[in-house]
């Protein structure tokens, strides 16, 4: 395919093509609906014959995330993808990666839960993703794509952030964005880094000593004072990420009396709801968080002062709404509208929720 060519494909396929094109060294994944096209597309494309990228179907998500740990520990750009129950299984590896400060990309094409739940879309893993998800005090950078284009664009962005901060990054997508077909321009081709470039970029990695002292990649430290210091260093890093990496998009907030906050596919539906509200004379705008962690707390707090109410639209029972309330600190009413079990909210339901706020 040509550069800048407009293609039609699924979000899951876009992730696979973007991975090959942005110098990804390895993909490790286990099939699960609704994200299996990522692995299938990579298998079809055979990047091991072109860029040298390793693609491996694993025996479990536990193996996937630990292969990610192993690849990241030697400084490689590695990724996995899964859906909610599989990502639940990966939490052990994610906390080890956070503890050992390893970069890596985990794509979660969310489906409804709890448990085996359903294969239909959901945003029910917001808490799991933004609160760490595994044991201990840590955070993972969470990006929320809302289009097939962002599925493609956020792969390289995820790797950039992951290596800038030596931290795992989650792309928190959902079954809608993963499965729907849309126009996309794939990112420009970027070669994989050479061994020398990996060593230069990752002097901490277990690449083999080759003339330096030994490197040990570990999350273990039994001395409490040293372990507390490690935790303080992590917290300082998370603070820096909060200060520098908040990303969001605003839509018609300038004249809005009411604000919808929504991410991913919920934000797409909310756009239609805003159009319907404005036809009825209700001025509604939207803030779409692109990073769910770090959360756009500051901007939402600013907007709260000029809004009569804020509505969180999510495909879950109300998870992000807690972060909005923490940002707003009671200055304006905050409500939630969401559906669960694989049902996505319809635009007129969201309009109804806005009207309820006015009453």
């Amino acid at each position: 395919m040509e550069d800048n060519e407009i293609l039609l494909m699924k979000g899951n396929e876009a992730i696979a093509h973007a991975a090959i094109r942005c110098g990804c060294d390895g993909y490790f994944g286990y099939p699960i609906t609704p994200q299996s096209e990522v692995l299938e597309t990579l298998a079809m494309e055979k990047p091991w014959e072109t860029t040298g990228m390793v693609v491996l179907q694993t025996e479990s998500e536990v193996a996937s995330i630990n292969m990610l740990y192993g690849g990241a520990a030697i400084g490689k750009r590695v990724m996995t993808s899964s859906s909610s129950p599989g990502v639940a299984l990966m939490q052990e590896g994610i906390t080890y990666m956070a503890g050992a400060e390893l970069p890596g990309l985990i794509v979660n094409v969310q489906r409804g839960g709890p448990g085996l739940g359903t294969i239909q879309p959901s945003q029910g893993d917001y808490f799991q993703s933004t609160r760490g998800g595994g044991n201990g005090d840590y955070n993972v950078i969470v990006l929320a794509p809302a289009s097939v284009q962002e599925m493609a664009d956020f792969v390289d962005l995820s790797f950039t952030l992951a290596f800038r901060y030596r931290n795992p990054v989650i792309m928190l997508s959902d079954g809608v964005i993963g499965q729907m077909m849309e126009k996309v321009v794939l990112p420009p081709f970027k070669p994989r880094r050479t061994d020398e470039e990996v060593i230069a970029e990752c002097p901490w990695a277990a690449t083999g000593m080759r003339g330096r002292g030994k490197n040990v990649v570990s999350s273990l430290e039994l001395q409490p004072t040293a372990m507390e210091q490690h935790n303080l260093n992590l917290q300082r890093k998370y603070q820096e990420i909060k200060e520098k990496e908040v990303r969001y998009e605003e839509y018609q907030t300038e004249d809005a009396d009411y604000l919808i906050v929504a991410f991913g596919s919920a934000a797409r539906i909310a756009l239609k709801a805003i159009e319907l509200c404005r036809q009825k004379g209700i001025r509604v705008g939207m803030l779409r968080p692109i990073t769910l962690w770090p959360f756009p707390t500051k901007r939402i707090a600013e907007l709260a002062d000029c809004m009569k109410g804020i509505l969180s639209v999510e495909i879950n029972a109300g998870q992000m709404v807690e972060d909005i309330r923490l940002a707003v600190e009671g200055r304006t009413p905050v409500s939630h509208y969401g559906r669960m079990g694989g049902i996505v909210p319809a635009p007129d339901e969201i309009v109804g929720a806005v009207e309820k706020m006015r009453a």
């Binding site: 292969m67 690849g71 083999g208 490197n215």
Partner: protein, 256 residues
């Protein structure tokens, strides 16, 4: 200084391998881990691969293996070392990559990762120290605990109806197409140590020749967990462990 005073260079016939540093080992007296560590250090040194080796250390008594052998290391989550090694090797095939795991780590919580790595023929070596007990956590029953053997979680002895049977993971490895070298060794006697070193070297060489996966099991003791003197533990191992976990090569398809 003191060593130099006692041992004149002209009289030196044997010394600690260069890769084994001076960090005091935390292992109990009589433990096999220190000997296995020494063999790894010797073989990597003799192969000239200090600069290009990556070890994956486990959760268990050998969690601090990285403290003692001067190569690059990755510390794994419990049982996950083979998955980590798989990626570390496939993404950097020029390196020698091995895991170091105990029986709880490998045959218990990490059985799936071990079996699939072996079956995939990952060009790695699994070094498996089997002392039939969880040492680090204080002597609980392991998947390889022998029938009737007493531990803190089977204080009346391992009972088949309750606990099932001791797992022969190495025999399972021998059945798999992906493995090229499967062997069971011990380090309780000088002759065993010499043979074990050859086995280790063979496994490392096969992995660098891309012949598939290898597993080198070391049947070992845990005098603390078994509540025996080191000497009695060695004898108990030879009397009880060796008949069930039989020594020698189970498979060697790398030589042809």
């Amino acid at each position: 200084m003191i060593n130099d005073d006692i041992i004149k260079p002209e009289n030196l016939v044997y010394k600690k391998p260069a890769l084994l540093n001076d960090t005091p080992m935390h292992y109990c007296p009589g433990c096999g881990h220190s000997v296995v560590h020494k063999l790894i250090a010797e073989v990597i040194d003799e192969m000239g691969m200090q600069e290009t080796s990556v070890g994956i250390s486990p959760v268990g008594c050998a969690v601090f293996a990285y403290s003692y052998i001067d190569i690059d290391w990755i510390e794994a989550a419990h049982g996950r070392a083979p998955a980590i090694a798989c990626a570390a090797k496939r993404l950097n095939p020029k390196n020698l990559v091995f895991t170091y795991q105990g029986d709880g780590d490998l045959a218990g919580i990490g059985a799936a990762e071990a079996i699939h790595s072996l079956n995939r023929g990952d060009n790695i070596v699994i070094i498996y120290v089997n002392n039939a007990i969880y040492g680090m956590t204080g002597g609980q029953m392991a998947p390889t605990t022998l029938m009737g053997m007493k531990t803190s979680t089977c204080p009346y002895g391992r009972d088949a109806a309750l606990h099932g049977y001791p797992l022969k993971i190495t025999e399972m490895a021998a059945m798999m197409e992906g493995t090229c070298y499967v062997t069971r060794q011990a380090v309780s006697r000088a002759a065993y140590i010499r043979r074990a070193k050859q086995a280790l070297r063979k496994a490392f060489e096969y992995s660098m020749q891309g012949k598939g996966s290898s597993i080198v099991e070391f049947v070992s003791t845990c005098s603390s967990g078994w509540k025996m003197s080191p000497e009695a533990a060695n004898q108990w191992m030879e009397d009880n462990m060796f008949p069930y976990y039989k020594m020698g090569d189970l498979k060697d398809k790398g030589s042809n």
